[in-house]
């Protein structure tokens, strides 16, 4: 009898959860607003981002030249610099004022200036020649492109000058080379061979898109349920504790089923399709997605407790997308983020999700190398599941008590 009872209850919880699951799937697919966010935005946004950052790196930044030395040395320098892909010497100016005007009008984004004594300082065995470089700071990528490429040319020409001078001192060429560059170096950029901006940013944006569309969609569904005051998010079944479980798990699994497929497309297939970095093992990514999506679902369900209207979630939470991507320490390195914000960031599934994903997908880490992030996501999933279930349990208990009280009052009045 007791065994039968247990089995029966077990079976009931499966059918109840299945019922909640099917109902939630139907709610998602019949709601055009949620479908725009869940499916259209999730699938289309990455394509837009890939198009925006299609050129990966900035090339041919226009630069103005002010050469007061009029020397063959400066011309040589400019010739070498112009050959680098980053810059293009578009204007030759007679004075700094003229070049400054060009910069001000955004015709150029940098100025290189050779003083009158440039060549004579180089010719003087004890002299030091100076080049002035002015960078437009309206985008950091201008500065990076201009400064690094100019530095490269400078180091190259500096070595040649040094060797000439040492040779003049009577050293032999080989010894002079060994002295000038005692230990030559090779620099290798790992993981994103093109070194492009898109290769770096888009993987982080892909994970953000999954996180934010889930957040907005779940808030929209919860807000709609509140508005319509349907009983969809009420507890079903006889025993409250089991009922809450069935409701929460049934709903979460519905979102999970949809998002597991979407994640396979967005963070699994898209990087391969768009030729973004994808050196990770696809099955490691898919296994990593399990706790990421679950944690995001339960996190979003907790946030949705505060949402009263179908649309208010989007109005309130839209700017979180910018906050989250910076707080996670992607575009701004996490080492430079003040500690209190790092603690707040630990509450977000995105923080662990994005680093784990970049490590696997872009840097070829295995799942065991991202075990820290993987475990943290499971902990978050558990934490938010418990919080949401507890709130639902208390809410149900209170509404039932109210109902009983109301019944008691109507009973006495009868």
């Amino acid at each position: 009898m007791s065994l039968w009872h247990t089995l029966n209850e077990y079976w009931e919880s499966v059918t109840d959860s299945t019922y909640v699951f099917a109902r939630e799937i139907k709610r998602v697919f019949t709601d055009s607003g949620v479908m725009i966010i869940f499916v259209v935005a999730t699938l289309a946004y990455p394509i837009i981002y890939k198009t925006m950052y299609f050129n990966e790196r900035i090339q041919d930044i226009p630069v103005a030249v002010v050469d007061l030395s009029h020397s063959s040395e400066s011309r040589m320098f400019l010739h070498q610099w112009n050959a680098s892909p980053d810059v293009r010497l578009t204007h030759t100016c007679q004075s700094m004022a003229e070049a400054e005007n060009l910069l001000r009008d955004q015709k150029v984004h940098g100025i290189i200036y050779f003083p009158r004594d440039f060549a004579s300082q180089l010719a003087d065995p004890l002299g030091q020649a100076h080049i002035s470089l002015y960078c437009d700071m309206s985008s950091f990528l201008y500065m990076k492109g201009i400064y690094l490429s100019c530095n490269q040319v400078m180091l190259e020409s500096m070595r040649n000058i040094q060797i000439d001078r040492y040779e003049d001192m009577g050293m032999d060429k080989e010894f002079a080379w060994a002295l000038v560059q005692d230990a030559p170096y090779t620099d290798t950029a790992l993981f994103a061979p093109t070194g492009g901006y898109g290769s770096f940013l888009i993987p982080a944006v892909l994970m953000l898109i999954l996180h934010q569309t889930l957040l907005f969609g779940i808030c929209m569904l919860a807000g709609t349920a509140r508005e319509e005051d349907k009983i969809v998010y009420r507890v079903i079944g006889r025993r409250r504790s089991l009922g809450v479980m069935r409701l929460v798990i049934g709903r979460a699994l519905a979102y999970f089923a949809i998002y597991y497929v979407l994640a396979a497309i967005v963070v699994g297939w898209y990087p391969r399709l768009f030729d973004l970095p994808h050196i990770g093992n696809i099955w490691d990514i898919m296994r990593f997605n399990v706790p990421y999506i679950l944690a995001t679902i339960f996190f979003s369900m907790c946030v949705s407790l505060f949402i009263r209207n179908r649309e208010s979630g989007l109005v309130l939470l839209i700017s979180t997308s910018l906050v989250f991507i910076f707080m996670a320490g992607v575009s701004w390195p996490k080492e430079m983020i003040p500690e209190p914000w790092q603690w707040v960031a630990c509450l977000l599934p995105y923080t662990f999700g994005v680093h784990g994903y970049i490590h696997i997908n872009s840097m070829g880490a295995t799942l065991s190398q991202v075990s820290f992030e993987y475990i943290a996501l499971w902990q978050q999933a558990l934490l938010y599941f418990v919080i949401y279930s507890t709130v639902m349990y208390i809410a149900d208990w209170r509404s039932e008590k109210k109902k009983q009280a109301a019944e008691a009052i109507s009973g006495t009045s009868l």
Partner: protein, 392 residues
């Protein structure tokens, strides 16, 4: 005239009651803006990325490699997290996100160095994190140049040359870098100056869509129009004035926080910069009106509006310059008000350019307002037909 003003006042009064009836409106505007301002100003307090963790692989284990490591550890701009003789260990640390760069000294480094055989140094940086990787790259360049300079100095000293002569031998050519309007290379100035106004514009647009769309959704538009005596202009003026006042105040506060309290430099005119910000806010508000006019279902207008405005942050070109985008994408950036505000900001705050340079962008922002006005007859029809229209 008096009756018109009175009617506008009545509509405004109705709107103010709605505004305070639930916390959403003030939380979504003032609250969100306050939180974001606090967040972005404290997030980037350091201003520039300086010390990124790197790993050193010392396969040589010689006295000179050890001394080099000690010197590097003493260099303030370098943060050495791991010293190992195993490259695999360093690579593992990089894949786990602990370090951004690896510096390798191969076996035989010392032997080759003293016999002038120019031993090879290798360094690896991660490109998966752009800022972290770049900073690590710069650090390792510093390390290499320090090494090289120190070695030359030793050899030249042994040859009996005085120090000042040596200095010019080692560095016969130097670049003086000048970072226009941001001489500290402060990342905060460049990022916050565009992102905070951008968020404010986003808020203005979303909330404007919401306050008009909510009337349509709840089918209260006829009640609103009744208060406005069925005068569309009065209805819109009365409804949007309270919000416009809030947005304007937020814009003014935002300007003063950035350029007065925090003290970001402004090389041009404060007034014109603030004027540009207000124009941007109005443009975003107009865009909100336009969205709900074209998509009279609240949820569609909000979803599409959000997608549209979020793209503005990338299309404005403040992170990834506009000049490197594909031509169609570049064209698309002109329909993002944030792009125009960013260009005004560059002119006024960074370049100190004459006002004529910003004029086209100010006019573009005004064009958004004009566009909303041109589309307003459609909104008028929607409002008047609200009872008959099936918006939901």
């Amino acid at each position: 005239m008096n009756t018109i003003l009175h009617t506008i006042w009545l509509v405004m009064l109705r709107e103010l009651k709605r505004l305070v009836s639930r916390p959403l409106y003030l939380v979504a505007s003032v609250g969100v803006m306050a939180v974001c301002t606090f967040f972005f100003l404290t997030l980037l307090k350091g201003g520039s990325a300086e010390k990124m963790p790197v790993a050193i692989v010392d396969q040589d284990q010689s006295s000179i490699s050890q001394r080099l490591i000690h010197e590097m550890q003493a260099t303030p701009s370098v943060d050495i997290r791991i010293v190992t003789n195993d490259y695999a260990e360093a690579r593992d640390a990089m894949q786990k996100g602990h370090v951004y760069g690896i510096f390798v000294m191969h076996e035989g480094f010392y032997r080759d160095l003293v016999s002038f055989k120019r031993p090879q140094l290798d360094f690896y940086v991660t490109n998966a994190y752009t800022v972290g990787g770049n900073t690590a790259y710069k650090q390792m360049l510093t390390i290499v140049n320090l090494t090289s300079g120190a070695f030359q100095r030793e050899v030249l000293r042994k040859k009996g040359l005085p120090d000042d002569v040596i200095m010019h031998r080692i560095q016969p050519l130097a670049i003086e870098g000048h970072m226009i309007a941001n001489p500290w290379g402060n990342y905060s100035i460049y990022l916050v100056s565009t992102i905070l106004p951008g968020i404010l514009g986003l808020i203005c647009m979303m909330l404007t869509i919401f306050v008009i769309g909510y009337e349509l959704k709840m089918h209260t538009a006829h009640e609103w129009m009744n208060v406005a005596r069925n005068n569309f202009t009065i209805a819109i003026l009365g409804k949007l004035t309270p919000y416009t006042v809030i947005y304007t105040l937020l814009g003014v506060v935002c300007h003063f926080v950035l350029y007065d309290y925090v003290g970001f430099p402004v090389h041009g005119s404060h007034v014109r910069l603030m004027f540009g910000l207000l124009l941007f806010i109005f443009a975003m508000e107009a865009l909100g009106v336009l969205m709900i006019t074209l998509l009279p279902a609240l949820r569609d207008a909000l979803s599409i509006g959000a997608l549209y405005a979020m793209l503005g942050f990338s299309l404005s070109g403040f992170t990834y310059p506009n000049m490197s985008m594909l031509a169609p994408v570049k064209a698309l950036s002109y329909i993002e008000p944030l792009r125009h505000y960013y260009l005004i900001y560059v002119n006024e705050a960074l370049m100190g350019a004459p006002s004529i340079n910003s004029l086209p962008y100010s006019m573009a922002l005004m064009a958004f307002v004009l566009l909303a006005l041109l589309a307003s007859p459609r909104l008028k029809r929607i409002l008047i037909n609200d009872q008959m229209m099936d918006v939901e």
